[in-house]
């Protein structure tokens, strides 16, 4: 098949063209977030189509699993598959090139965001299970009415009121004026909170709570939050929390009078609607008030339910609960809402509205996810690695070239020119099969240049031996190639086998190493044997009477 120089050259030519073609910079579409509008837009980047690993271009690698620490999830494998879809939607909106979202095994999700610079934000968006519910707050103050009972039970259990301020009242009217204003503003409001003096003697729990501005809103001093949390988690307390009421913490800390408070909301345990019905959410800035708002659209079914529920709850406060945390202060329902609604975020930055919209839109995770592995590589470190790797590669290859040319002279030069083809083929192989070049892969590439010439060394040594035995140049070359073949195949197969195992059990970077090594071995077989042989054939054809060989 390859007996003539011509057919060999054609083969090499085809390989060369294919390789160059595989490496021609192509246009890659990239979604990026437009800073001005907050919308996603597509941009086109022209680059060499070799995937760089996260360790080279910087980025975030996350491994997530279904979090079962807070209660078992019935079908984690199904949950993770659904989570994959949700996370993928969110990531697509996030705007990174070629994100990886992939289920590994049956309960693990791998997320890789190349080039992402803000790990905290990315993790936030991914991990937010975004279980969204709208619930009406405890308008009838059922929880507050139950506080005396709870306090009594706690006292009986021997719990002492914490803090020095637990003197007289139970639920302290911290912001009495505000509440009054609120009442005045909403004459149609539910029964006003009972006067705080009605409450009983100081209680272990009630002394921690201050009545907030809205019905069902309580403020807990930040430093007391753990105490309140542990009290509320007690079984005897939980039994006494009124039926139909659930307590939810707010997501942010507000500070009044030099103290920080966290809001605790008593809300109905039945959501009027959940995120499942949500179809779209968009963040905008209201041009008139300059406030950030999120406009949302519900499904038709959701719209009907929402219309009915909001109709029943006009002037009630609706807590937006995301993953069990009340988002901001519950807004008031100003009137019946159908399929389209709006959440006003006030003076909050647009970014926050955008993130909320993103999470609402991308849907809810079926189960909470916990991060079991995280790797973040800054882009500058990745660039440093590339530079270092290339520098080491150039020096290493230069040394190999030097050794080969000095030692084998013209034959060495042939091997070296084949080596350039080798590097080209290897890179083209990575590009063509869509493998990723990682930092260890770069090392593998450099290393395999050293190993690649081994085949030529074996051949050249054999040719030298044959020449020494007095063979003619042409025969010596033939014999050299033939006899060295078994050793070359042996050595390459043994290296390829270990590399293959490494690929099977390794993770990202190590797999990159194994792949480069395997492709490198394949390419070196082609160049060291086929290409160098062809060079020899041309050489001998041009000087058929060659009596000596520069080897």
């Amino acid at each position: 098949m390859f007996y003539t120089v011509r057919s060999r050259l054609i083969t090499i030519g085809i390989l060369l063209v294919l390789s160059v073609w595989a490496l021609i910079p192509t246009n890659t579409t990239q979604r990026v977030r437009d800073a001005a509008t907050g919308r996603m837009k597509d941009t086109t980047v022209r680059r060499v189509p070799i995937n760089l690993g996260l360790d080279l271009q910087g980025g975030i690698h996350l491994a997530l699993e279904v979090d079962q620490s807070k209660g078992p999830v019935p079908d984690p494998a199904d949950a993770i598959r659904r989570a994959e879809r949700v996370v993928r939607t969110r990531i697509d909106e996030f705007g990174v090139t070629e994100p990886v979202v992939q289920v590994v095994g049956n309960n693990r999700l791998i997320v890789e965001l190349a080039g992402e610079k803000d790990p905290a934000r990315a993790k936030g968006v991914i991990q937010r299970t975004a279980f969204l519910e709208f619930r009406i707050t405890d308008m009838k103050n059922l929880f507050r009415d139950a506080l005396p009972e709870i306090d009594k039970a706690l006292r009986q259990a021997g719990v002492k009121p914490a803090g020095e301020g637990a003197a007289a009242t139970s639920v302290t009217q911290l912001f009495g004026a505000d509440t009054a204003k609120g009442k005045a503003k909403h004459p149609k409001g539910k029964p006003a909170p009972k006067d705080s003096s009605d409450a009983n003697a100081p209680g272990p729990l009630s002394s921690l709570l201050f009545q907030g501005q809205l019905p069902g809103e309580y403020l807990v001093p930040e430093e007391q939050v753990p105490v309140a949390e542990s009290l509320l988690a007690r079984p005897d307390v939980r039994r006494l929390i009124p039926r139909g009421i659930e307590l939810k913490w707010g997501n942010e800390v507000s500070s009044r009078a030099a103290r920080s408070y966290r809001a605790l909301y008593a809300a109905e345990d039945r959501p009027i609607i959940t995120g499942e019905e949500l179809q779209d959410a968009r963040a905008t800035r209201d041009p008139l008030t300059n406030q950030s708002v999120v406009n949302f659209t519900l499904s038709r079914r959701g719209g009907r339910i929402f219309e009915r529920e909001t109709g029943r709850h006009v002037q009630d406060y609706m807590a937006i609960i995301l993953d069990g945390r009340v988002q901001g202060q519950p807004p008031i329902i100003k009137g019946q809402i159908g399929q389209h609604g709006q959440i006003e975020l006030g003076a909050k930055p647009l970014q926050e509205a955008q993130d909320l919209a993103l999470v609402l839109k991308a849907g809810a995770l079926p189960a909470p996810l916990t991060i079991i592995e995280e790797r973040t590589i800054g882009p500058s470190l990745g660039q440093d690695s590339i530079n270092d790797g290339i520098r080491a590669g150039i020096v290493g290859v230069a040394l190999v070239v030097l050794i080969m040319v000095v030692y084998y002279r013209w034959s060495g030069a042939l091997a070296v020119s084949a080596l350039t083809l080798y590097v080209l083929f290897t890179l083209a192989g990575l590009a063509a099969f869509g493998f990723t070049l990682t930092l260890p892969g770069l090392a593998g590439l450099v290393l395999s240049v050293g190993i690649a010439v081994d085949a030529n060394v074996l051949i050249f040594e054999r040719i030298r031996e044959e020449l020494q035995h007095g063979k003619l140049v042409r025969t010596a070359v033939d014999e050299g190639f033939t006899h060295a073949m078994s050793a070359i195949i042996d050595s390459n197969v043994s290296t390829a086998l270990t590399a293959f195992i490494l690929y099977l059990v390794g993770t990202g970077p190590v797999q990159g190493f194994a792949i480069t090594l395997i492709i490198g071995i394949a390419a070196s077989m082609v160049t060291a044997i086929f290409v160098v042989r062809t060079f020899y054939m041309i050489w001998l054809q041009r000087r058929p009477d060659m009596a000596t060989l520069s080897v």
């Binding site: 080491a392 450099v446 190993i451 060394v457 042996d490 195992i501 993770t507």
Partner: protein, 340 residues
């Protein structure tokens, strides 16, 4: 034209006992140290966190330790990493792995905020962060073990297929020797054992095996060619014949690994060091371990014509009696064939 070790005729096998002594002197202390203190496993295996930070000017590990201590993080290792203004902060999960998943990630955040407090927010930049939960660490340990185990199995199958079992046994034992010396080497230098380093060890296994195979290939060829020589002589002859190739190949490979050690940066350095050492030990074991072992195996379980049994008859190199040895050419003989 340059020829290294052309037509060399060293009696390598004669020095085998010295070689055993030398390699034992490396392995025994190193391996004992390994048994007592274990290896410096990377957080990939132990679970934990790693944060690499760069400061505009060198601040010293003491200041970083101070910042972490102030934040209540006491069990962190702090190291300069390649440059005086690069540092790596590691915290490992306890060996028991009792801490819950997700805590290593929280620790990473805690270290970051401790540094922000201690050094000032703009005074450092985080190059990379790794947080590995105990579960992933345990899995990776299992995977690394499996990788080494399977590569041995596959290697054995390949050798069984390629050579008769006596050769295979000698080659595997020599490879096992390489793993022991490499563990000792890693222990002496206290290199961090990451999955990439395990990768280097496996590559080393392939490389060293390859070297042994090339010598054994020659041994097999010579056994057919020179029927009257004993194994001792055949082994020496084969090693000598393949010596130029060994020198050249190891030279080029070493050139690339040394370039990696010196230039490829701190992350790859343990990998590159292990590979460099692997070339040494692979070459050494192919000559001084695999070949003599083959002789012992042949002596203990003689093959076809029991040539191994004759191996110990001669104590030193015996001139080849064959009628067609690759006798050293007369100066200017075949050498004149080559262009100078």
């Amino acid at each position: 034209m340059i020829r290294l070790f052309a037509n060399a005729n060293y009696d390598f096998i004669k020095w085998r006992r010295w070689a055993y002594g030398l390699t034992a002197a490396i392995i025994i202390p190193g391996f004992s140290l390994f048994l007592v203190r274990g290896l410096n496993y990377s957080i990939e295996f132990t679970g934990g966190t790693l944060i690499q930070v760069r400061t505009p000017t060198p601040v010293g590990t003491d200041r970083i330790r101070g910042a972490l201590d102030a934040a209540g993080i006491h069990d962190a290792e702090i190291q300069e990493f390649g440059a005086p203004n690069e540092y790596v902060v590691r915290t490992r999960l306890g060996a028991t792995g009792t801490r819950a998943e997700g805590t290593s990630e929280a620790t990473a955040a805690a270290v970051d905020s401790a540094l922000a407090h201690g050094l000032g927010a703009g005074q450092y930049s985080v190059g990379r962060t790794e947080a590995v939960g105990p579960k992933v660490g345990r899995e990776l340990q299992g995977k690394a073990f499996l990788a080494i185990f399977f590569s041995f199995i596959v290697t054995l199958i390949y050798l069984a297929f390629r050579f008769e079992w006596r050769f295979g046994l000698a080659a595997v034992l020599a490879t096992f020797h390489d793993i022991l010396t490499t563990i000792a080497f890693i222990r002496y230098l206290d290199l961090e054992v990451s999955l990439v380093v395990v990768g280097a060890v496996l590559t080393m296994v392939g490389y060293s095996l390859n070297d042994t195979i090339i010598i054994f290939d020659r041994v097999r060829e010579n056994l057919r060619k020179f029927r009257r020589q004993n194994l001792y002589e055949i082994l020496n002859l084969s090693i000598n014949e393949t010596l130029p190739r060994s020198v050249l190949t190891h030279g080029t490979t070493m050139a690339t690994t040394l370039a990696l050690v010196l230039l490829a940066g701190e992350v790859l350095r343990p990998f590159a060091l292990v590979m460099t050492f692997a070339i040494f030990t692979g070459t050494f074991s192919s000559i001084y371990i695999a070949a003599p072992l083959l002789m012992y195996v042949e002596k203990r379980w003689p093959g076809q014509d029991a040539r191994g049994a004759r191996a110990f008859r001669s104590g030193s190199a015996v001139p080849l009696e064959s009628s067609q040895p690759p006798s050293p050419p007369a100066p200017g003989g075949s050498r004149s064939k080559a262009a100078v």
